[in-house]
């Protein structure tokens, strides 16, 4: 039992914030994490000291230990663990234990919430935090500081001396998000964050999501709480405005707000009230994740007036059967097309998120996703390759169908192995997604006598028997590497030019 004898705790948060394990160069200032900023704000309000080790690339043992040594004396080290970062986090925890044998190691974030047994089994881990961590960690710091028994804190699991696990229940959620202090933005090297470099602030004014999409962990996060009905909550519109004003007063160079709430219009009444206040009191260009099926034209008009210049929307699959049967997203093509027309009408450009390589998908179903994007004239598309997160319904479906290969699939480019949709086809669709969306848009814009045969020819280029998928994937990989490097250079060395180009692109797209 760690006892700080009345001294306040010194805590280091370790945040592995990279997706490409081969990326050894530091390309940006990384990404903001609302969860870590919020934990820091709560702990600092309680008088404790909090530091951040923001890992922007895979660290060697020597580099990691050298950085760790710069933080001075530490009582607790907390690891924020995404699923794909878990293998690296285990290494970092091992090196941490070697360098600091007496430090208390806690792990949190969504991977821990989904599979706490797996994480607490890591030898170096003393404790895991399930669900929201601010007040559990504050209680841990307070009790450690006061020399009290902390092994009974709700939401935390501990390793007992005999090797057994003390599994405390998860604390109930509180309904009023306004009680959480404004996040500690400056925990990060905020001015050098990837978003800040292009004058953009990443903002989150809510917690949770009550949709039940089968590929997402949200349904399982919700289950861990005793009062899951209030799992999805927003700060009050007034408090959300206060959040923004505080942020802007600290970082006046911010010119664009990027709301990263799971579904920004989840509560339509809240959303209508908020965007009205945002228009009056903030008025900066903004964007956010918007859901198709709960929008009205009136709200879209208000969004335009408030400053929305672009929106992100989850389209996921263009095949209604995939959406209804496997994804639990009950949106019809008609809903999607109507909503999209409103965005075009009011000059708001749209980005869609799409998933390729879903269980039971094949290239013909994936082609429907490309075509629906073309029909709604998506301005930008993000074609993600399906990743089966453990504990999600779609993971179970994939496993039951035998699509999840034996052994470690976390580093595979296409995690599922499906005979009807081989890896090279999934990579081809993901790689050439926007290319074909553009061409199908042309086809739909042509007179029917010309558009129909052109569409047929495009169909052949995607699904034809003799398409050289592997070769095309290789060519695309080379092109992407060059393109991403150029974007890195623009963002890092000429951010103002990048910002101008970005705004110009959105305006042009919204007009077209």
């Amino acid at each position: 039992m760690k006892n700080l004898n009345g001294r306040k705790a010194r805590m280091l948060l370790v945040y592995p914030d990279y997706t490409d394990r081969d990326a050894t160069r530091r390309t940006s200032g990384g990404n903001y994490s609302e969860g870590l900023a919020s934990i820091s704000a709560v702990l600092k309000e309680g008088g404790h000291e909090v530091f951040l080790m923001h890992l922007l690339n895979l660290h060697s043992e020597a580099d990691f230990k050298e950085r760790l040594a710069t933080y001075g004396e530490l009582d607790i080290i907390g690891f924020s663990i995404r699923t794909t970062a878990f293998p690296d986090a285990q290494l970092y925890m091992k090196w941490t234990r070697e360098a600091r044998p007496d430090v208390f190691i806690i792990a949190g974030s969504y991977h821990v919430t989904l599979v706490p047994d797996e994480v607490i089994a890591v030898p170096e881990v003393d404790c895991v935090c399930i669900g929201d961590g601010e007040y559990a960690e504050l209680e841990l710091c307070d009790k450690m500081s006061a020399g009290e028994d902390y092994t009974n804190i709700e939401s935390l699991w501990f390793k007992a001396k005999d090797g057994s696990i003390i599994k405390n229940p998860v604390r109930p959620l509180f309904a009023d998000l306004d009680r959480i202090p404004i996040p500690d933005f400056n925990l990060f090297d905020y001015e050098n964050l990837e978003s800040s470099k292009v004058g953009t602030a990443i903002v989150v004014v809510s917690r949770g999501c009550f949709y039940n999409c089968t590929y997402c962990g949200n349904g399982n996060f919700r289950k861990v709480y005793p009062n899951k009905k209030i799992y999805a909550r927003f700060r009050s519109p007034e408090n959300a405005i206060l959040y923004l004003k505080t942020l802007l007063s600290m970082h006046p160079y911010i010119k664009v707000i990027n709301f990263r709430d799971a579904i920004f219009n989840m509560f339509p009444d809240w959303f209508d009230t908020f965007i009205e206040m945002y228009r009056e009191q903030i008025g900066l260009p903004c964007t956010g994740n918007i859901r198709f099926d709960i929008l009205t034209e009136e709200t879209v008009k208000k969004m335009k007036d408030a400053g929305f210049y672009t929106v992100d929307m989850g389209l996921e699959s263009g095949d209604p059967e995939m959406r209804f049967k496997y994804l639990r997203r009950y949106q019809t093509d008609e809903m999607i097309i109507n909503c999209s027309n409103w965005f075009h009408k009011y000059g708001i450009s749209q980005l869609t998120y799409n998933i390729v390589g879903l269980p039971f998908e094949d290239i013909h179903r994936a082609l429907k996703t490309i075509k629906l994007n073309a029909r709604i004239k998506s301005d930008r598309v993000v074609p993600n390759i399906f990743y089966p997160y453990e504990g999600t319904p779609l993971y179970e479906i994939s496993k039951e169908a035998g699509f999840i290969p034996d052994g470690d699939f976390t580093q595979r480019r296409v995690p599922l192995v499906q005979p009807q949709f081989p890896e090279e086809q999934v990579l081809f669709v993901a790689g050439y997604f926007m290319h074909f969306v553009r061409r199908y848009k042309w086809a739909y814009a042509m007179p029917r006598w010309l558009g129909k045969p052109y569409e047929k020819w495009l169909d052949l280029r995607v699904t034809g028997k003799y398409v050289p998928y592997k070769l095309l994937v290789k060519l695309h990989d080379g092109y992407s590497a060059v393109r991403n490097r150029l974007k890195d250079i623009l963002v890092n060395y000429t951010p103002k030019l990048y910002m101008k180009l970005r705004m110009l692109k959105h305006r042009k797209k919204a007009k077209s």
């Binding site: 949709y211 039940n212 099926d293 639990r328 009950y330 949106q331 019809t332 809903m335």
Partner: protein, 60 residues
């Protein structure tokens, strides 16, 4: 006999009722409209208790 009714103006299609219903009584039409099958429904009220929008009520 009591019936569970979904208020379509409040429903946001989150499917929490569908996930939680122990009798698989929540139906979703191909237009994405949620309703409750009176034959399968046992009026346990779980759907109403979990609905985050309070869109489901029991009508006598």
């Amino acid at each position: 006999m009591a019936r569970m009714i979904i208020n379509q103006d409040k429903c946001i299609h989150c499917a929490t009722c569908e996930v939680e219903c122990p009798f698989k009584a929540v139906l979703i039409s191909d237009k994405g409209i949620f309703s409750i099958d009176d034959e399968l429904c046992r009026r346990c009220g779980i759907c109403a208790s979990v609905c985050p929008m309070d869109a489901i009520t029991k009508e006598e």
